[in-house]
Symmetry: C2
Subunit: 136 residues, 2 copies
Protein backbone atom coordinates (compact mmCIF):
# COMPACT_ATOMS: atom_id res chain seq x y z
CA UNK A 1 0.00 0.00 0.00
CA UNK A 2 1.22 3.50 -0.80
CA UNK A 3 2.50 5.45 2.17
CA UNK A 4 0.02 8.22 1.37
CA UNK A 5 -2.89 5.77 1.65
CA UNK A 6 -1.50 4.21 4.80
CA UNK A 7 -1.19 7.63 6.39
CA UNK A 8 -4.70 8.78 5.51
CA UNK A 9 -6.29 7.36 8.70
CA UNK A 10 -3.66 9.21 10.71
CA UNK A 11 -4.14 12.58 9.04
CA UNK A 12 -7.93 12.20 9.31
CA UNK A 13 -7.44 12.03 13.11
CA UNK A 14 -5.08 14.96 13.38
CA UNK A 15 -5.85 18.62 13.97
CA UNK A 16 -3.28 21.34 13.52
CA UNK A 17 -2.55 24.42 15.59
CA UNK A 18 -1.31 27.87 14.68
CA UNK A 19 1.81 28.74 16.67
CA UNK A 20 3.37 32.20 16.60
CA UNK A 21 1.50 32.84 13.36
CA UNK A 22 2.59 29.61 11.65
CA UNK A 23 -0.35 27.47 10.58
CA UNK A 24 -0.55 23.70 10.27
CA UNK A 25 1.57 22.53 13.18
CA UNK A 26 1.44 19.43 15.37
CA UNK A 27 3.23 19.20 18.68
CA UNK A 28 5.80 16.43 19.05
CA UNK A 29 7.05 15.16 22.40
CA UNK A 30 10.16 13.01 22.22
CA UNK A 31 11.02 10.38 24.79
CA UNK A 32 14.00 8.04 24.99
CA UNK A 33 12.73 4.54 24.22
CA UNK A 34 15.14 2.99 26.71
CA UNK A 35 15.29 5.27 29.74
CA UNK A 36 11.85 6.93 29.21
CA UNK A 37 13.52 10.32 29.76
CA UNK A 38 11.68 13.16 28.02
CA UNK A 39 14.32 14.53 25.63
CA UNK A 40 12.69 17.48 23.89
CA UNK A 41 9.59 18.95 22.34
CA UNK A 42 9.22 20.64 18.95
CA UNK A 43 6.64 21.27 16.26
CA UNK A 44 6.06 19.40 13.00
CA UNK A 45 4.19 20.40 9.90
CA UNK A 46 2.60 17.81 7.62
CA UNK A 47 5.77 17.42 5.53
CA UNK A 48 7.93 16.93 8.63
CA UNK A 49 5.56 14.24 9.87
CA UNK A 50 5.47 12.52 6.47
CA UNK A 51 9.28 12.55 6.25
CA UNK A 52 9.54 11.21 9.81
CA UNK A 53 7.22 8.30 8.99
CA UNK A 54 8.80 7.65 5.59
CA UNK A 55 12.40 7.64 6.82
CA UNK A 56 12.04 6.58 10.47
CA UNK A 57 14.19 9.58 11.43
CA UNK A 58 12.72 12.57 13.31
CA UNK A 59 12.05 15.71 11.25
CA UNK A 60 10.53 18.93 12.61
CA UNK A 61 9.46 22.37 11.52
CA UNK A 62 11.53 25.05 13.20
CA UNK A 63 9.30 27.94 14.27
CA UNK A 64 12.33 30.22 14.79
CA UNK A 65 14.08 29.45 11.48
CA UNK A 66 10.76 28.87 9.70
CA UNK A 67 11.94 25.84 7.81
CA UNK A 68 11.88 22.06 7.78
CA UNK A 69 14.56 20.63 10.02
CA UNK A 70 16.02 17.13 10.19
CA UNK A 71 17.12 16.66 13.79
CA UNK A 72 20.86 16.00 13.77
CA UNK A 73 21.48 17.55 10.35
CA UNK A 74 24.34 19.64 11.83
CA UNK A 75 25.30 17.69 14.94
CA UNK A 76 24.79 14.13 13.71
CA UNK A 77 22.63 13.56 16.79
CA UNK A 78 19.77 11.95 14.92
CA UNK A 79 16.70 10.34 16.47
CA UNK A 80 15.46 6.98 15.22
CA UNK A 81 11.73 6.39 15.69
CA UNK A 82 10.85 3.28 17.69
CA UNK A 83 7.16 3.98 18.36
CA UNK A 84 4.70 6.82 17.78
CA UNK A 85 1.52 7.63 19.70
CA UNK A 86 -1.28 10.16 19.07
CA UNK A 87 -3.13 11.94 21.87
CA UNK A 88 -6.90 12.06 22.45
CA UNK A 89 -7.25 15.50 20.86
CA UNK A 90 -5.16 14.58 17.82
CA UNK A 91 -2.92 17.63 18.03
CA UNK A 92 0.04 16.10 19.82
CA UNK A 93 2.26 13.11 19.03
CA UNK A 94 4.57 11.21 21.32
CA UNK A 95 7.63 9.63 19.73
CA UNK A 96 9.75 7.07 21.51
CA UNK A 97 13.19 7.23 19.90
CA UNK A 98 16.76 6.00 19.98
CA UNK A 99 18.73 9.21 20.50
CA UNK A 100 22.25 9.43 19.11
CA UNK A 101 24.38 11.64 21.38
CA UNK A 102 22.40 14.41 23.04
CA UNK A 103 19.06 15.93 22.02
CA UNK A 104 19.84 19.41 23.32
CA UNK A 105 21.80 21.97 21.29
CA UNK A 106 23.34 23.11 24.58
CA UNK A 107 25.15 19.77 24.91
CA UNK A 108 22.83 17.90 27.25
CA UNK A 109 21.11 14.61 26.67
CA UNK A 110 17.69 16.18 27.36
CA UNK A 111 16.57 19.76 26.77
CA UNK A 112 14.96 19.60 30.23
CA UNK A 113 18.30 19.80 32.04
CA UNK A 114 17.26 22.48 34.55
CA UNK A 115 15.12 21.69 37.58
CA UNK A 116 13.02 24.32 39.25
CA UNK A 117 14.07 24.70 42.87
CA UNK A 118 13.02 27.11 45.61
CA UNK A 119 15.44 29.84 44.54
CA UNK A 120 15.57 29.33 40.81
CA UNK A 121 16.78 26.89 38.21
CA UNK A 122 19.44 24.32 38.97
CA UNK A 123 21.28 22.36 36.28
CA UNK A 124 20.62 18.69 36.95
CA UNK A 125 21.37 17.23 33.49
CA UNK A 126 24.76 15.92 32.49
CA UNK A 127 26.60 17.69 29.70
CA UNK A 128 27.68 15.04 27.21
CA UNK A 129 29.08 17.09 24.32
CA UNK A 130 30.58 20.50 23.66
CA UNK A 131 28.20 22.48 21.42
CA UNK A 132 31.08 24.68 20.18
CA UNK A 133 32.82 21.64 18.74
CA UNK A 134 29.67 20.07 17.30
CA UNK A 135 27.98 23.13 15.73
CA UNK A 136 30.69 24.83 13.68
CA UNK B 1 10.78 35.21 50.66
CA UNK B 2 7.60 36.10 48.80
CA UNK B 3 6.54 33.61 46.16
CA UNK B 4 6.57 36.41 43.59
CA UNK B 5 10.23 37.12 44.34
CA UNK B 6 11.13 33.45 44.35
CA UNK B 7 9.50 32.99 40.97
CA UNK B 8 11.18 36.00 39.35
CA UNK B 9 14.28 34.01 38.20
CA UNK B 10 11.92 31.51 36.58
CA UNK B 11 9.81 34.04 34.71
CA UNK B 12 12.97 35.87 33.57
CA UNK B 13 13.98 32.62 31.83
CA UNK B 14 10.63 31.90 30.23
CA UNK B 15 9.34 32.94 26.82
CA UNK B 16 5.72 32.65 25.82
CA UNK B 17 4.12 31.52 22.59
CA UNK B 18 0.92 32.53 20.84
CA UNK B 19 -1.23 29.47 20.15
CA UNK B 20 -4.39 29.67 18.05
CA UNK B 21 -4.45 33.41 18.66
CA UNK B 22 -4.01 33.16 22.45
CA UNK B 23 -0.94 35.04 23.67
CA UNK B 24 1.23 34.29 26.68
CA UNK B 25 1.28 30.50 26.74
CA UNK B 26 3.88 28.00 27.92
CA UNK B 27 3.78 24.37 26.91
CA UNK B 28 3.54 21.82 29.72
CA UNK B 29 4.46 18.15 29.33
CA UNK B 30 3.28 15.92 32.12
CA UNK B 31 5.01 12.68 33.06
CA UNK B 32 4.15 10.16 35.77
CA UNK B 33 6.82 10.47 38.46
CA UNK B 34 6.72 6.74 39.13
CA UNK B 35 6.34 4.97 35.79
CA UNK B 36 7.82 7.81 33.63
CA UNK B 37 4.84 7.41 31.28
CA UNK B 38 4.01 10.63 29.40
CA UNK B 39 0.46 11.38 30.53
CA UNK B 40 -0.59 14.50 28.64
CA UNK B 41 0.38 17.88 27.29
CA UNK B 42 -1.44 21.19 27.68
CA UNK B 43 -0.78 24.91 27.76
CA UNK B 44 -0.39 27.20 30.77
CA UNK B 45 -0.59 30.95 31.02
CA UNK B 46 1.30 32.86 33.71
CA UNK B 47 -1.57 32.58 36.22
CA UNK B 48 -1.87 28.80 35.67
CA UNK B 49 1.86 28.41 36.28
CA UNK B 50 1.73 30.59 39.40
CA UNK B 51 -1.21 28.61 40.78
CA UNK B 52 0.55 25.32 40.01
CA UNK B 53 3.68 26.42 41.89
CA UNK B 54 1.69 27.96 44.77
CA UNK B 55 -0.58 24.97 45.33
CA UNK B 56 1.52 22.05 44.04
CA UNK B 57 -1.47 20.97 41.95
CA UNK B 58 -1.41 21.22 38.13
CA UNK B 59 -3.39 24.09 36.60
CA UNK B 60 -3.61 24.84 32.86
CA UNK B 61 -5.11 27.29 30.43
CA UNK B 62 -7.63 25.58 28.16
CA UNK B 63 -7.22 26.87 24.60
CA UNK B 64 -10.62 25.41 23.59
CA UNK B 65 -12.62 26.76 26.55
CA UNK B 66 -10.39 29.84 26.83
CA UNK B 67 -10.20 29.75 30.60
CA UNK B 68 -8.03 28.71 33.51
CA UNK B 69 -8.47 25.06 34.32
CA UNK B 70 -7.53 23.09 37.41
CA UNK B 71 -6.88 19.55 36.22
CA UNK B 72 -9.33 17.24 38.00
CA UNK B 73 -11.83 20.00 38.86
CA UNK B 74 -14.65 17.85 37.41
CA UNK B 75 -13.21 14.34 37.56
CA UNK B 76 -11.25 14.53 40.81
CA UNK B 77 -8.25 13.20 38.87
CA UNK B 78 -5.82 15.81 40.14
CA UNK B 79 -2.07 15.88 39.50
CA UNK B 80 0.33 16.58 42.35
CA UNK B 81 3.63 18.15 41.28
CA UNK B 82 6.73 16.20 42.29
CA UNK B 83 9.34 17.97 40.16
CA UNK B 84 9.38 20.63 37.45
CA UNK B 85 11.96 21.19 34.71
CA UNK B 86 12.43 23.98 32.16
CA UNK B 87 13.76 23.39 28.66
CA UNK B 88 16.71 25.10 26.98
CA UNK B 89 14.48 27.53 25.05
CA UNK B 90 12.40 28.43 28.11
CA UNK B 91 9.07 27.88 26.39
CA UNK B 92 8.31 24.38 27.62
CA UNK B 93 8.08 22.88 31.10
CA UNK B 94 8.19 19.25 32.11
CA UNK B 95 6.24 18.29 35.22
CA UNK B 96 6.71 14.97 36.95
CA UNK B 97 3.49 14.31 38.86
CA UNK B 98 1.53 11.89 40.97
CA UNK B 99 -1.60 11.29 38.88
CA UNK B 100 -4.84 10.45 40.66
CA UNK B 101 -6.93 8.13 38.45
CA UNK B 102 -6.45 8.78 34.75
CA UNK B 103 -5.13 11.88 33.00
CA UNK B 104 -7.25 11.45 29.87
CA UNK B 105 -10.87 12.64 29.65
CA UNK B 106 -11.57 9.57 27.53
CA UNK B 107 -10.92 7.33 30.55
CA UNK B 108 -7.33 6.28 29.93
CA UNK B 109 -4.36 6.76 32.21
CA UNK B 110 -2.45 8.61 29.47
CA UNK B 111 -3.83 10.75 26.64
CA UNK B 112 -1.36 8.94 24.34
CA UNK B 113 -3.38 5.72 24.36
CA UNK B 114 -3.26 5.14 20.57
CA UNK B 115 -0.17 3.79 18.85
CA UNK B 116 0.48 4.46 15.20
CA UNK B 117 0.70 1.17 13.31
CA UNK B 118 1.05 0.33 9.62
CA UNK B 119 -2.67 0.60 8.92
CA UNK B 120 -3.75 3.25 11.35
CA UNK B 121 -4.15 3.88 15.05
CA UNK B 122 -4.44 1.02 17.53
CA UNK B 123 -5.63 1.50 21.11
CA UNK B 124 -2.83 0.29 23.36
CA UNK B 125 -3.74 2.10 26.59
CA UNK B 126 -5.88 0.58 29.31
CA UNK B 127 -9.22 2.21 30.07
CA UNK B 128 -9.36 2.75 33.82
CA UNK B 129 -12.56 4.78 34.28
CA UNK B 130 -15.83 5.45 32.50
CA UNK B 131 -15.93 9.08 31.37
CA UNK B 132 -19.75 9.05 31.33
CA UNK B 133 -19.82 8.30 35.04
CA UNK B 134 -17.06 10.75 35.94
CA UNK B 135 -18.04 13.82 33.87
CA UNK B 136 -21.72 14.39 34.59
Amino acid sequence: MQLEMRMKPLFDELKTRTVDGIQGLYLAIVQDSGSAEVLMTAFMNRRALELTLETGIMHYYSTSRRRLWKKGESSGNIQEVVEAYVDCDGDALLFRVKQKGGACHKGYRSCFYRRLEKNGLKITGEKIFNPEEVYK
